[in-house]
């Protein structure tokens, strides 16, 4: 008798979020769904995180319609989403009734499993979402954001699992968004939770592949009793993405654990995304292979590219090394928050400010809010001097209560504002879209009827050359007419030319 290890497939959400800047068009995912639905996954992550944002910002696609399509295309699968707890899919705290309505609508449109995390691991921010999910009879997965700091021990993570279970969570997720989870830590935390909270407590483990060690961490987590692990089909895996599904399956051979996935389905899903991936080359992460420097800086890959582009905009692209040293200091001053959306952006931006303008000469309003407790309680003590500066600059006091308790009912205001936008379709879903991203949704509503975009290159241009390598951009350029200034007999002409095919 071997134990079955469940698998959550990430190819429809976190995989392309991590590898292709969340740009994959729905029409490129549709053909893989029949096989994904039959492969035998425990769940299919397909919504939440940055996908909602990318839908309306880049793809002119209604994220709620995407969810309904997945529901239709994956009739036998548990659909899973990532929810930023009281932040929902946005970057601020919402008042409880907005949380309730969002969860109701997500459930109504087909969501089954809600993975709920708070960037500060503040359990108070998670409570309302869990309650709403359970009220809908759906699966509420309480999430521990894994991070490394002098304050984070096996014991603190196990305690957090206990608190999440007290909220009524159906399962626990150990979420390693920065690939910092080493094998022994994975083992100790999973074992600790099972020992303290009972063997029947269902534990899921989510890791990224960036540092190269986390498939081993998944093995150790499984040995310690983890029930389900997250992977992505091999052709959409590795780098800042995830461990390959097929490798996970192979890894378990003979170990006393096994994953019951249909090999033929996996092969077809792999082939589908292998063909697609090169079409999104323009959005591909710079990290290929592994990056173990993260173990020292503890800065997740996505945060690095953010900070790089901020520095470049200020003409200070060469000061990234200073920012790398500044980030851990800012993080310590803020009480060692895990670095994950939105805390990663907040800490990263403040570190950039500190390097460019002098330490804490200017505080971003988000960083002030973080210091003052408006995102919740950070794991450790905040630096009193920086706290005082935040109070002075933000002209508001530090708080200790749950941030959402300070918010007034806002549904009607949101509804009225959304209703005033051209293209608003009158649905609660549209109000929620507006609530998450007010500016972007206004632009989206106005042009929604033009239909979804596909930002992948056209298949012909992306086709591998005869030698199996992706066609270089040059190949396309040389087949397309290009406009040049051409000097001919001493006179300048603007000429459109088409290269001679040899």
């Amino acid at each position: 008798m071997t134990k079955t290890i469940d698998i959550t497939e990430l190819c429809l959400r976190d995989a392309h979020q991590s590898l292709l800047a969340t740009r994959m068009a729905m029409e490129d995912m549709v053909p893989a769904c029949a096989d994904i639905d039959k492969a035998g996954y425990w769940s299919v992550e397909c919504w939440g995180g940055a996908t909602f944002d990318a839908c309306i910002r880049f793809l002119n696609e209604d994220p709620w319609e995407r969810l309904r399509q997945f529901r239709t295309l994956l009739p036998n699968s548990r659909l899973q989403m990532l929810l930023r707890a009281q932040n929902l899919l946005g970057y601020r705290h919402y008042e409880d009734s907005v949380v309730d309505r969002f969860v109701d609508k997500a459930a109504e449109n087909g969501m089954d499993v809600f993975r709920i995390f708070d960037a500060l691991n503040d359990i108070r921010n998670i409570k309302q979402s869990v309650k709403a999910v359970r009220r809908n009879g759906k699966h509420a997965q309480g999430t521990i954001c894994y991070t490394v700091s002098p304050l984070h021990t096996t014991e603190t993570f196990v305690e957090m699992a206990e608190r999440l279970l007290e909220l009524g969570c159906d399962s626990i997720c150990l979420k390693d968004m920065a690939a910092l989870l080493k094998p022994q830590a994975a083992y100790d935390i999973v074992k600790g939770i099972k020992t303290r909270c009972g063997e029947q407590v269902r534990i899921h483990v989510h890791t990224h592949a960036t540092t190269g060690v986390t498939l081993v961490s998944l093995m150790k987590a499984i040995e310690a009793g983890a029930d389900c692990v997250d992977t992505a089909i091999s052709s959409l895996s590795l780098g800042p993405g995830h461990n390959p599904t097929e490798s996970l399956v192979a890894m378990l051979d003979g170990t006393g654990f096994h994953a019951e996935l249909d090999k033929a389905c996996l092969h077809r899903i792999k082939e589908h995304f292998a063909v697609l991936r090169p079409r999104y080359q323009a959005f591909m992460s710079n990290i290929i292979g592994v990056e173990t420097d993260i173990f020292d800086s503890q800065i997740p890959g996505g945060m690095i590219s953010n900070m790089e582009s901020q520095l470049k905009q200020q003409g200070a692209g060469d000061r990234l090394a200073e920012v790398f040293i500044e980030v851990p200091r800012v993080r310590e001053d803020a009480g060692f928050p895990p670095l994950v959306t939105p805390s990663s952006q907040i800490v990263g931006t403040q570190a950039v400010f500190n390097v460019l303008m002098g330490r804490y000469k200017v505080l971003s309003s988000e960083f002030s809010d973080l210091m003052l407790g408006y995102y919740g309680k950070t794991p450790g003590e905040r630096d009193p001097e920086v706290l005082a500066m935040a109070e002075a600059q933000a002209k508001k006091p530090a708080i200790t209560e749950r941030p959402a308790d300070l918010l007034k009912p806002e549904w009607e205001t949101l509804q009225a504002a959304a209703a005033a936008l051209p293209g608003f379709n009158g649905s609660e879903e549209d109000v929620l879209t507006y609530a998450m991203f007010p500016q972007v949704s206004a632009a989206f509503f106005a042009k929604r009827d033009q239909g979804p975009l596909n930002l992948g290159r056209d298949p012909e241009a992306a086709k591998p050359a005869a030698d199996g390598k992706p066609a270089a951009a040059a190949d396309k350029a040389l087949k397309t007419p290009v406009t040049y200034d051409v000097k001919l007999n001493g006179r300048s002409h603007r000429v459109s030319v088409t290269p001679v095919t040899e």
Copy 2:
């Protein structure tokens, strides 16, 4: 107390052999040597395999001179080579005195550790090399080629280890050239050897990363008692290469095992090869990420590209799928040899012949030799019908003795032939180079004084663009004048144009 795990660094040999078609120029390795020497590796693999061949075939570089340079540049390191036992670094069996002289000269020029394998795991082919290495007071590492077949069990591998130790080997290497070694198998074999042969028996494990599971296999091998594992610095790792050194180090944190490597050295070695790698893009393997199909076909990556190019030369590039089905059949007919140089090429070529010309209508002379025992004893029974065909076509009988026992002393013949070549320098090393690669060495001797080539692109062209991505070929093309046929006012002109920089 934790156990120290030794590391063999592969960046100077197998890493660029697997990732960059063995093309890395010596001058590109030299700057990394000081750090490699100080990093704390148990050994540095830097010679053997295809590097000897590539030196004289592509790089106009004397492989013996390369060895002497490494000896000088790595004064504190054990230099390690891969030796194809009675085949030395060539593709045929050599008579014992040639084996003796080769090992003597390799030792004299600075080699410390000889990893000795036979493609059929025929212990008789390994004996003479081990004897020669021990006579020189060097480290003889007996190698088990890991493969998967109905005949290969933990027991057969453990037995082979026993036989190797009886020969006097100083350590055992479990060599997984095709990334087929799954975690449990790694554990069972290492544990089996330690249990049967004693805990003091030193076991090294070599894996490739192609299938994505082998870092887990290294973890399991270490848990079972492995003493040393092979890795490559992260910037020259993964794909058909190896697991990253830095990930291996991180993986062990807190596990009761640790690797004593200097982090600052590793960082500098990584940076060095990160800059170099894009310069060899033209030689880069097509496999990026992982390829788990190998578990079914058991065909190593290098063999696939060989077969592909053979098929293309015959205008049958579309028949690879048939060859994939044929390879396991041919392998079974030949008695399930492991697939590694030269058996991989022999079996692969015969499979291509079978697909193109009908099954066994034509036998390659090498395949006949394999069937008739001229490479040694294959693990299982050979197919009697195919054996009869081989006897008929090759017009020679099957043999059961050690192949080298049939060879007449050949040193003087080799010496005379080498001496007749223009550019021969009179050394025994040159005779050995000639013995390995008669045709290629003739051409090499003649132009040796022109000095080594560097086939990497010039650094400017390979420099990453400002956005951190390698400059696309297009970028270069668009900065260079290009000749076009341009129609202007109805008349055709051949014009050289320079694009307008925006």
